[in-house]
Amino acid sequence: MSPLEDALREALARREPPAGFDQRLMSRIASEGDRSRPHNRHTRRWALAAAVLLAGLGLQQAHRQREIHRGEVAKQRLVTALEIASSKLQHAQKRVLEIADR
């Protein structure tokens, strides 16, 4: 081992970091954790809002489908009623013409 190598070993000996290094580090780790938690809360809020919005859209769509179905039923009933009325009118007209011919 040369004198230079000995001197280097001595000069480059490990040294402790400034006092309070470990406390500063641990509080930094804790604050990094705190920063990540609001992020999670934020994400959960967005997920909840999205779920509520999707549920609302689903309900609206179901309501519209029910309305369309109800309209279809009403239309069918009206058509049936008109067909009955028309048939009765034709029948009555036929009877009137028969009486007139006598």
Binding site: A11, L12, F21
Partner: protein
């Protein structure tokens, strides 16, 4: 070190208290690699804190206390090189440094500081080798593992580093100092 419990992934699962113990055990090593490389205490502390923050996240992947030491040396060395490249270092101007008043190692309390400045003035690839060799006492094959370099390259660059330091020491510290 009380960190032998294993996580489900095969890494080490430890409490905050045990992590604080790891920090206290290795903070001098990490801080010194950074300090001897950057020659700046504030920057060295910042780097060391970043390394331990990264360790906190990486710990579940590390398998043993020896793995932790290897990991810390490796990450601290690579980060020191990155810090040195990214930030404009206040370079030590040896040409303007005053000549040493005393010429004997035992009589010169500033010799250590002057040597550290000489090391800090080495090119980056030589500087980290010298730190790992003389601060950490690593053998060339261990340095090769940390820096992911061929052992032959480590040996030849260490020899060149020592030759440069010897030449600088003769020029700036006087021929009779070392």
């Amino acid at each position: 070190m009380n960190v032998t419990e294993e996580s489900p992934a095969g890494g080490m699962a430890i409490s905050a208290c045990e992590f604080a113990g790891i920090v206290r055990e290795h903070q001098a090593m990490v801080f010194s690699i950074a300090y001897h490389y950057l020659h700046d205490r504030l920057l060295a502390e910042e780097l060391a804190q970043d390394v331990f923050l990264q360790l906190h996240q990486a710990l579940p992947r590390l398998e043993s206390p020896a793995h932790v030491v290897f990991w810390l040396r490796k990450v601290a060395s690579h980060r020191a090189i990155d810090y040195g490249r990214k930030r404009k270092l206040r370079l030590v101007s040896l040409d303007r440094a005053p000549e040493p008043a005393v010429a004997s190692k035992s009589e010169d309390p500033l010799l250590g500081e002057r040597l550290r400045k000489l090391v800090a003035s080495l090119p980056e690839k030589f500087r980290i080798l010298v730190i790992l060799r003389f601060q950490e006492g690593l053998e060339p094959d261990e340095i090769a593992g940390v820096l992911e370099m061929p052992v032959g390259t480590v040996k030849s660059q260490l020899q060149r580093s020592l030759a440069m330091l010897r030449e600088k020491a003769t020029r700036y510290l006087g021929g009779g100092v070392l």
